[in-house]
């Protein structure tokens, strides 16, 4: 069984994101970029399935600028077998990504697509669902547990107020939540091996997809700065402030 794992290059989760001065987006120049953390969880899950003998091959796919190749390399160092880079400078939005993934799925015929539930840059939480719809496949989103048996996948989903367990008929799309697993660290031998694993580079046109954005970003702004808290000296002062300043009582 083949598993396809899409991986996205995003601003590293440790970086304090800054909005560009012209409000068109966030600053990425000179900023540390890494694999989307949910995608790391997806790669880890795929590698574990391979280690259990469930999967035979893992294909990591990334779309975007040439440097997305580095993100694929990271996936290869974690245990993916080969990579596909769809290289484009276009601003990629979920629908375009889902369409391109669909063509790749048709070509590669994986039984399972495991992907992050969302990317931490735009938090769209859409690509996995769109891909499942385009393929007409079952979907198990926000997975915190995945078990494969025969042609069935049992996915435990994290939903508001608890856990929901769904049974999917394969092939299926699974999107990962934070608690699914703890991704491994790439070991040195695996980093070395990853260098020799193949990455195929193609363009959106090769997939017959026009990746032009359908949504227009009007403005990106920073959230309002939080005011520093105040220390009060007495209960009386607190009550007074709640009345006159906070106006909550």
């Amino acid at each position: 069984m083949k598993i396809l794992v899409p991986v996205k290059r995003v601003v590293d989760y440790n970086v304090k994101v800054r909005v560009k001065s012209d409000g068109t987006g966030v600053e990425t120049a000179g900023v540390k970029m890494s694999m989307n953390p949910f995608d790391e969880i997806a790669v880890e899950e795929a590698v574990r399935l391979k280690e259990k003998g469930v999967a035979t091959e893992i294909i990591a796919v990334s779309m975007g600028v040439a440097q997305c190749g580095e993100t694929i390399r990271t996936a290869l160092a974690m245990g993916a077998d080969r990579g596909i880079l769809v290289e484009t400078d276009a601003d990629l939005q979920p629908l375009a990504v889902a369409k391109m993934l669909k063509v790749l799925v048709d070509r590669e015929q994986p039984t399972l697509v495991v992907m992050g539930k969302q990317a931490i840059d735009d938090d769209m939480n859409a690509t996995g669902q769109m891909l499942a719809a385009l393929l007409g496949w079952a979907q198990g989103t926000f997975a915190s547990k995945v078990a494969i048996e025969g042609d069935k996948a049992t996915v435990t989903r994290e939903i508001d107020g608890g856990l929901e367990t769904v049974a999917l008929k394969l092939p299926a799309v699974v999107t990962t939540d934070l608690r699914l697993n703890e991704p491994r660290y790439a070991s040195l031998p695996n980093i070395m091996k990853a260098r020799k694993k193949p990455i195929e580079t193609i363009k959106p046109a090769d997939l017959g997809v026009d990746p032009a954005p359908r949504l227009t970003v009007i403005k990106v702004a920073e959230p309002p700065k939080r005011q520093a808290g105040k220390k009060v000296g007495s209960v009386a002062e607190l009550v007074a402030k709640l009345k006159t300043e906070a106006k909550v009582i």
Partner: protein, 388 residues
Amino acid sequence: MDFALSDEQEAVREAIARICTRFDDKYWHDRDQTGGFPHELHQAMAEGGWLGICMPTDYGGAGLGITEAAIMMQAIAESGAGMSGASAIHMNIFGLNPVVVFGTEEQKARMLPPLIAGREKACFAVTEPNTGLDTTRLRTRAERRGDRYVVNGQKVWISTAQVAEKMLLLARTTPLDQVRKRTEGLSLFYTTIDRARVEAREIPKMGRKAVDSNQVFFDNFEVPVEDRIGEEGRGFEYILHGMNPERILIAAEAVGLGRVALARATQYAKERVVFERPIGQNQAIQHPLAEAWMQLEAAQLMVMNAAWRYDRGLSCGAQANASKYLAAEAGFFACQQAVMTHGGFGYAKEYHVERYLREIMIPRLTPVSPQLILCFIAERVLGLPKSY
């Protein structure tokens, strides 16, 4: 000329930084208080295959260069692990270079894999109490008796001798008065420490409590002949081979420690408000930090230059020594400035910078003193008369 790290070097940096996130400030603070070797870090590095970063692939290593090893060691120090983290594995990364270069196939197959796998740790026993930097006068004797050598004498400052199973030992096999040159008659051994014959007494010291340094006493310690590396009498020559890389690594560690100190100081300078302004708004606070950054960056270029030369087989003695000098001094300046920037709080253990300051003294003092580096540069680079 290309000053950028390769993708692979970035990957090394990244991967090490991630492993080190498991060992946070509290971990190193506690190690500094109570001591205890950071076995968990050593184990994590072994499991990830990192201990073999510049060991030959035939023996389970990754076959990368000293450049990558320097990047790795720097990332460890820079994570806040400082010398407590770096010294815990430093010796195991490059210490066995003489075995790689001068050992027989049998020795390499026997000695390298357990070290790379982290099953064994090694210590490096050269310094002696009565010879100091004048290494060729060392007095520890190894006398040949049949198929073994019998070692008697004393070493000092031997790091990790409490936890190591193995020792790379330099000892005199031909007495000084019987050799033509003082550099002759020393031999190198890589052997198992027999605790019944080798006593290691820990030296209470200023910093890096987690990684022990010791007085070591040899009392008729027997070393099998097959544990001698290379020819008898040429040990000094062999250890010289590993000295430049060692300096490069410790220099990289010093820059790493300086960087984390600078990062902490900068953060504090942004946050601490006195006289109704962040202290970092004052030039008296900013400028020394800016200076620390420049010094660290300049030192780093020399470190990478030295590593690059070593990996290409070019002579690198001057650069390796210069990098160790510059990096240790830049690191020291940064750590000291980090304490000063924190004001009184810099003196509190809670802020970590006083620990860095105590640890950055190590790369200044060892493996060679700054004075002797200046002597070396004056003599070998500038052609001035030898002064010592």
